[in-house]
């Protein structure tokens, strides 16, 4: 499923908003999420999951083309931890056995 399909799915299930409004809403939601992480703040959606930043210290790497050593600076990477409901629903959907 890609963004345009997500927008269509949302549109199918409601009648109040135009497709344009839904497109704008999805765009606005994602922008808010990106800007929150950019500020190094968490996103917490119950039943879905949480997003936070994980720190990665500087490390030595190599330029794969030349083999030359380079220092890769410290950085943060976005991290997602699925919530309980999402974990359970995805697991059942796959026809896999649930642990408890």
């Amino acid at each position: 499923m890609i963004k345009s399909e997500l927008i269509d799915e949302i549109a199918l299930k409601q009648t109040q908003l135009s497709i344009k409004d839904i497109e704008l809403s999805v765009k606005t939601i994602l922008t808010q999420m990106v800007e929150t992480l950019e500020k190094s703040e968490r996103i917490e959606i119950r039943g879905f999951g949480s997003f936070s930043l994980h720190y990665r210290p500087a490390r030595k790497g190599r330029n794969p083309k030349t083999g030359e050593p380079v220092v890769l600076p410290e950085k943060y990477v976005p991290h997602f931890k699925p919530g309980k409901e999402l974990r359970e629903r995805v697991n059942i959907g796959g026809g896999y056995t649930r642990t408890k």
Partner: protein
């Protein structure tokens, strides 16, 4: 302060002028449709943000960390998030512009 569904709905109300109920329902549908896609076994790709991928894991041996007793971890399907290039680039620069807490 963490971003929550209420805060996102508030953003839709302020920025797009959706009424409070529409905004709340929109946020609810947004996350629910992603969950439904994943539940059906579909990968969900949101350009500019990232991909939610599914992985099938086989059963593997595990241990109860409290008792040390061996118990198998059952086969399962799990969700992972892979941030897109655009999101990663925007986040990476955080370390350079802000000091670690």
């Amino acid at each position: 302060m963490a971003l929550t569904k209420a805060a996102i709905a508030n953003g839709l109300y302020n920025e797009l002028g959706l009424n409070k109920r529409e905004a709340k329902e929109m946020v609810e549908s947004f996350f629910e449709e992603i969950r439904l896609g994943l539940e059906k076994g579909e990968q969900v790709k949101l350009s500019g943000f990232g991909n939610f991928d599914l992985h099938d894991k086989q059963e593997r041996p595990g241990r109860n960390p409290k008792t040390g007793k061996e118990i198998p971890i059952s086969a399962r399907r799990v969700v992972t998030f892979r941030p897109g290039q655009k999101l990663r680039t925007r986040i990476e620069s955080y370390a350079r512009t802000n000091k670690r807490k």
